[in-house]
Symmetry: C2
Subunit: 197 residues, 2 copies
């Protein structure tokens, strides 16, 4: 997606060990107009697939998922929670994630009330790197017996293996920008649109 | 806001000690169409006030803030983060919050890059009870020397003192639904529109 790649080129900062900082528009300050364009792109890719629910994970996925829902007839968005809140229903699906960014393991959970076997789910998240968060979301979709329509990602780190692992499983993955290489000196190199599949 | 009160009456569940569960549409599964109506209501209340940034706190505030931004000319949304991420810039404003729901204290932070003395800030959050989270957000607005235009809340628990404390300080507070009393037996009693100010 040209608009997103432009934004990454202009505002993204590569920091040493594989870290791409995009907190000026994607995961701390949020560019909602951009998110709606991203939502339109996901809607175009997954049109006619009967998506009736969007599943994401707190926190950075929530804004993108919210902006995307309007292009899927305002279907409900459900977000996986990273810890047990006292308010949260105890009847839950749960899965484990290891975050390399934060260097810690955590659990995510979704109330059983909000994932149903008849659901046709689109998973949305901001980043795909090693794919651990998306795998945990898929795990919960499977626990519910729901159908995974596909996965929509803003920025895939193509030099990590999460994207390849999902594609090998035949999962419909739409990454709006794929970073194949990056360095502090040379910035970011994107995968060409023609090579994305 | 009639639509929100209706939704609370229909789907909200009162659970013992002052807990109102609205996770079917507000803070686990998200009703984005409703959030856009809420955004319109906030825009109507704060029209002409020069709001150029929306500040919220992860996670439940993010979706409402995102839906609201489109009615403020797609101004940026910034969300306070609840813990130190390794990716987060170290130049931060920080404030402390005590969560009665989770019975623990935590820190929130916003990068100094995303709060500016020229900013005119609208704070958005899903719930207002004792007001600790909103107070921490206001604290960071003040640290930045920015101007607080007002505070927009989905559901205020009118039987707790957060709302009264903000109004006493002369802060423009718009709570779309104010719950003055609730019980498992009798459900929820809302403050009348005419008594809201």
């Amino acid at each position: 997606m040209e608009l997103l790649e432009e934004k990454i080129r202009k505002e993204g900062q590569v920091k040493g060990e594989g870290i791409l900082k995009v907190d000026s528009f994607l995961n701390h300050q949020l560019d909602v107009a951009l998110f709606e364009e991203m939502g339109k792109a996901f809607a175009k890719r997954f049109a006619g697939e009967g998506v009736n629910k969007i599943l994401t994970i707190e926190s950075s996925g929530i804004a993108i998922a919210t902006s995307t829902a309007r292009y899927f007839d305002y279907c409900p968005v459900v977000f996986g929670k990273k810890y047990v809140s006292l308010n949260l229903d105890q009847e839950i699906y749960s899965s484990d994630v290891y975050s390399y960014t934060k260097q810690q393991a955590y659990k995510i959970m979704v109330s059983k009330k909000y994932l149903d076997k008849d659901d046709r789910i689109l998973i949305i998240d901001d980043f795909l790197a090693n794919g651990k968060a998306v795998e945990a979301l898929i795990d919960m979709v499977n626990q519910a017996g729901a159908t995974l329509v596909g996965v929509g990602i803003a920025i895939e780190k193509g030099f990590q293996d999460g994207g390849a692992l999902l594609r090998e499983q035949g999962i419909a993955l739409e990454s709006l920008a794929i970073v194949d290489a990056m360095s502090e000196e040379e910035g970011v190199i994107f995968r060409a649109q023609s090579e994305k599949k």
